[in-house]
């Protein structure tokens, strides 16, 4: 079981940016979100990670005030997203998964419009330049490439200088350059004190950007913590070493803590699976010394977020 560390406030005593408790949302007979709890600390980047249909978008859209919870409570910046919508909307920035822009609008025109709805917006021209959209100011939205449309949508989410932005799959379908440009922007938002909640399918994105990761599956948060905590929390790290082939692993297993495993997948190449901590490393090297084995090439494989993710959410394909 993974340590579930709900996003603790960075400044003690400060109220979280988002608090979701026991959220249930059904569409007809289908339960999209099933008792979800999520806390987002202020001033960091939280990645909501999950397979398709896990309930990520429904959760985010409930926080944005688009959906009324069937059960549970949602508080965003201390407000009820539905009842206090008028007070909340100026304070949040929203990037929808797709669409949201007039087919006939020009890129610059749409951004200027969203800016005009706010009291102290960023300079739209500087923002388009910043996102590499400087040349498409007069291009109709429908003629922009997919990546340009995504970046315009991102620009619309931040132009009003919100405290909190929700980005629903901000880099889906982007090429590596555009993805990195988006990551840069998210890092800059964080550095400037904006709270960012993003959903993603990309483990690398969560590892690169997130202070806090919530893994969602089946409409619930199955684990939450920093990427390091989640990877460390996974008991399944691996220690590898090479040595003389045919060593007696049974005696090694006796020395190792319960739940560990040892094997020799290739003659002379050994692996130990378990909670790889300094104690385990010491046990293995002591055992090697006992048996007069010089362990060459000792490596500790840290499990990636993707390993943890697959371990938690299963490997079967989702619809």
């Amino acid at each position: 079981m993974h340590s579930v560390l709900p996003g603790e406030p960075r400044t003690p005593g400060e109220e979280p940016a988002v608090t979701v408790r026991g959220l249930v949302k059904k569409y007809g007979a289908k339960t999209a979100v099933d008792g979800l709890d999520l806390t987002v600390a202020r001033g960091g980047v939280t990645a909501v990670l999950g397979p398709n249909g896990a309930g990520k978008t429904t959760t985010i859209e409930t926080c944005e005030g688009y959906r009324r919870p069937d059960a549970g409570t949602v508080r965003v910046l201390g407000l009820d997203p539905v009842a206090d919508s008028a007070a909340l909307r100026p304070r949040i920035g929203v990037m929808l998964q797709s669409g949201g822009i007039y087919a006939g609008a020009r890129a610059g025109e749409m951004l200027r419009h969203v800016a005009a709805l706010h009291a102290h917006p960023l300079d739209p021209a500087a923002l388009t330049e910043r996102l590499g959209l400087g040349d498409c100011g007069r291009t109709p939205y429908r003629r922009l490439s997919g990546g340009q449309q995504q970046r315009l949508s991102l620009a619309m989410a931040v132009v009003g200088r919100p405290e909190l932005v929700f980005l629903d799959e901000p880099t889906a379908g982007l090429d590596p350059q555009a993805r990195r440009a988006t990551w840069e922007l998210v890092r800059e938002l964080r550095a400037d004190g904006v709270t960012v909640v993003l959903t993603t399918h990309y483990m690398e994105e969560a590892e690169q950007l997130a202070d806090d990761v919530a893994i969602v599956d089946g409409g619930r948060v199955v684990a939450q913590g920093s990427p390091e905590e989640l990877c460390r929390g996974g008991a399944e790290n691996t220690l590898r070493f090479t040595g003389r082939p045919g060593l007696d692993l049974a005696s090694l297993l006796k020395a190792l803590p319960a739940g560990s495993a040892a094997g020799e997948p290739v003659p002379g190449s050994y692996r130990v699976d378990g909670t790889v901590d300094p104690q385990l490393l010491a046990t293995v090297t002591a055992w090697c010394a006992q048996h007069g084995v010089m362990p060459d090439r000792i490596t500790v494989e840290r499990h990636t977020l993707e390993d943890v993710f697959l371990e938690l959410t299963g490997k079967e394909l989702r619809p």
Binding site: E64, G65, Y66, A86, R89, P90, R91, I92, V94, L96, S98, G99, G100, I101, Y102, A103, G104, A105, E109, H113, V114, A116, L117, H118, A119, H120, L122, M156, V158, G160, R161, P162, E163, R187, E188, L189, R190, A191, D192, G193, V194
Partner: protein, 256 residues
């Protein structure tokens, strides 16, 4: 990453008046930029007015043809913008998530609808100026009380807006596109715009006379052509359609 201060939060909604003005200006630009919409709102009414005033195809009764046609075409202009154009544009805004996206900006929904109405009214003013100039060039001599005309145009706009928004908010965008154009065509023929209702059989006349387009074209004609007083019956029909249409739209409109 060090802070640059570019994105330091400073949230806040723009003043309501500025939001509504910006939204109305954007909606109007979208409409005037759209070729299909211009065909519907400008080209068709202008062509019908010019063609039927100069070529004697339809028997428009006694007097100059333009005196009969101008009020009908003004009614058509209102319908084309408030109903057909607004239904199609709003239907696709819903389909493309524009209404949804605007729903999370500081712009309240009622302000969005107000801006849409402003945009419809601005477009109508442009249409009416254009059609009036053309009608005068064709020898139009209008009569009657301008206030009665204004009242008819406003209630007609309300009635058609309600019906257009009801359609846009409940049907798929493609269905709205097809249905709004079909309704436009049917009402153009059967609503006293260019063909007098008296050309239809008696039974049909009674039913057709209750259509919003017939009330608007009939009311405008009674004032502008015949110099009659305030056409209360026609205003009553438009008021009923307004209440029904706007009420149903408010009740059934889906934003996504």
């Amino acid at each position: 990453m060090t802070a640059t201060g570019t994105f330091t939060p400073r949230p806040g909604a723009a003043p309501l008046g500025r939001m509504i003005r910006a939204q109305a200006a954007l909606e109007t630009r979208m409409l005037l930029r759209n070729g299909e919409q211009l065909l519907l709102t400008v080209v068709i009414p202008t062509l019908l007015l010019a063609l039927f005033s100069t070529v004697d195809i339809v028997d428009t009764g006694d007097g100059a043809a333009v005196d009969f046609l101008a009020p009908g075409v003004l009614a058509l202009a209102v319908m084309s913008t408030a109903f057909t154009g607004q239904a199609i544009a709003t239907g696709f805004e819903r389909r493309y998530g524009v209404l949804k996206r605007l729903g999370s900006t500081p712009l309240p929904r009622w302000a969005l609808m107000t801006a849409k109405t402003c945009s419809v009214l601005v477009t109508e003013v442009l249409q009416i100026v254009l059609l009036t100039v053309i009608a005068f060039a064709l020898g139009w001599s209008p009569h009657g009380n301008p206030l009665a005309v204004l009242l008819l145009l406003v209630l007609g706009t309300a009635a058609f807006s309600g019906l257009g928004l009801l359609m846009a908010g409940t049907l798929r965008a493609e269905a709205t596109l097809a249905a709004a154009n079909l309704v436009f065509l049917l009402l153009l023929v059967g609503g006293g715009v260019i063909v007098p209702l008296s050309k239809f059989p008696d039974a049909a006349q009674t039913v057709l006379g209750l259509l919003p387009i017939s009330a608007l074209s009939g009311g405008l004609r009674s004032v502008l052509q015949d110099g009659a007083g305030v056409p209360w019956a026609d205003l009553g029909v438009l008021a009923v359609w307004s209440v029904l249409g706007l009420g149903a739209a408010a009740r059934f409109f889906r934003w996504e």
